[in-house]
Symmetry: C2
Subunit: 284 residues, 2 copies
């Protein structure tokens, strides 16, 4: 998915919020904004939004001299989600369709997205997701694909959301799951440390993309990740950045996310706020 003109204002807003998260003072915030706008003026129209976001967050880490501006927020998100884990687990156990409920909860957790808003309403998101239909709803296709596949590759998104992923992975087990996080801080995306803090090492094999940027960039991923990606028969990709970078990579992919921006809503053809389980289109 290419960066749209509508992404520009959103990326400028993200840059300011991220600079503040990093504790930058106003003059540094202004410097970040100016550099981001210079980058946007020169932007390659073929680039994806995560490429620009990557550039922004690298810049912020550089000017703010903070290696992980989101660390505190990531820890807080993980703790909050872990506190909900027992009651969410019970919800799944009592539901008539355990797999679908777990899928829905994994999508509920996708509200923990600091690129969209500094604040999120986790309980509100859970309630909304449980009461709102999935659209599109390729859950049956996902279930069938998992049953046919020797293992599942699961591309993580944000810290905290990891706990919700764990609930879904527990429904996929005993089929092995390989859970892929970022190799270093990238916005509030989960790293190995964040995944372990959420207990993901207890239910899945942990790996990284080999890169500390949101989404997946094939030209920057590690050979180990690329081999894994190429050989997996079913790939669950969480969140908007994975959708933005992988939406044209075939029908092995299943995108689980909340549509939190108009540009993605238009690309998917579903309204803002939609909860989607979408199988990728076959590559010709």
């Amino acid at each position: 998915m290419k960066t749209q003109l509508d992404c520009y204002s959103c990326l400028v807003r993200q840059a300011l919020h991220a600079a503040r998260f990093a504790g930058a003072d106003e003059s540094v915030q202004r410097k970040v904004l100016n550099q981001v706008m210079r980058a946007l003026i020169q932007l390659d129209p073929e680039s994806t939004p995560p490429m620009t976001s990557d550039l922004i967050h690298r810049l912020i880490r550089e000017v703010s001299a903070s290696s992980d501006p989101y660390q505190r927020m990531k820890e807080k998100s993980t703790q909050e989600a872990l506190a909900l884990y027992p009651q969410l687990k019970e919800l799944i156990q009592q539901s008539s369709d355990r797999f679908e409920t777990a899928v829905k909860l994994a999508i509920a957790g996708n509200i923990i997205d600091l690129s969209v808003s500094e604040q999120y309403d986790l309980l509100g998101s859970i309630e909304r997701v449980l009461n709102q239909p999935l659209t599109p709803n390729d859950t049956p296709q996902l279930k069938a694909a998992i049953e046919r596949s020797p293992w599942v590759l699961y591309l993580a998104d944000n810290a905290g959301e990891t706990v919700f992923d764990r609930l879904l992975i527990e429904e996929i087990l005993p089929r092995p799951v390989i859970y892929v996080v970022k190799s270093g801080p990238a916005l509030n995306d989960a790293t190995l440390g964040d995944a372990r803090a959420a207990g993901l090492d207890q239910v899945a094999e942990l790996r990284t993309t080999g890169y500390d940027g949101i989404g997946v960039f094939f030209d920057k991923s590690s050979p180990e990740f690329l081999e894994l990606f190429d050989n997996s028969q079913v790939i669950i990709a969480k969140g908007m950045a994975n959708y933005e970078t992988l939406s044209e990579c075939g029908d092995r992919l299943f995108f689980l996310l909340q549509i939190k921006c108009e540009v993605i809503a238009q690309d998917v053809g579903k309204p803002l706020g939609s909860l989607m389980v979408a199988q990728g289109k076959p590559v010709r």
Copy 2:
């Protein structure tokens, strides 16, 4: 009020929407965005948001070769508001405090603001305003100031909102009201033509600021307007741009508006969505 860093993303968004309103194709939209970002990079930190907005909308009129991109929307807003006029008039006539109800409706009309959103819910805004307290509520001070003053200077904001201003002006009459619009197209702000289309010439003397930009810029206003401004004892200033440019101009001013952005919410010290009637602070 100075332009805050939070205004940058909003101004980029506004520029894109305005370029689209003007019918610009994607390459022109990109050109507008790039020029706006170049201007923001060089922005004088002392400038007010309407100064930047002014620059943006001038640029759009230039590159799109459209002298009034918002003309069609302004006509539509005015027609919609006029259709509601009879029932709003009746609402005032049946209310226990006619003046306060008219003040509230004038604020309800301030939802017609295309700098904030391309869409607005006029009926929803009317209902909300009638049920929500004003904060701050300097309506008694406004009423007393009007009673002491030989005439009222009324600084208009958007086309369509004019009809709601007319309802308030009819409650101020027979005290004369001078209704000031922009001298030419500026966003969806009312011009003389827009004010006449809403029937304001039947209830007030129409004048302009002498400038085709939103808000009031003293260095660009006509001498006639400046004389009027200096000699008026009570000045009603509608909307955010008038607040942004005049908030430090003394206690003759009364700001009537809906707080539709976080930056103004912070400046006023009231939450987003607040409906305010605020007397300006005395100039020392």
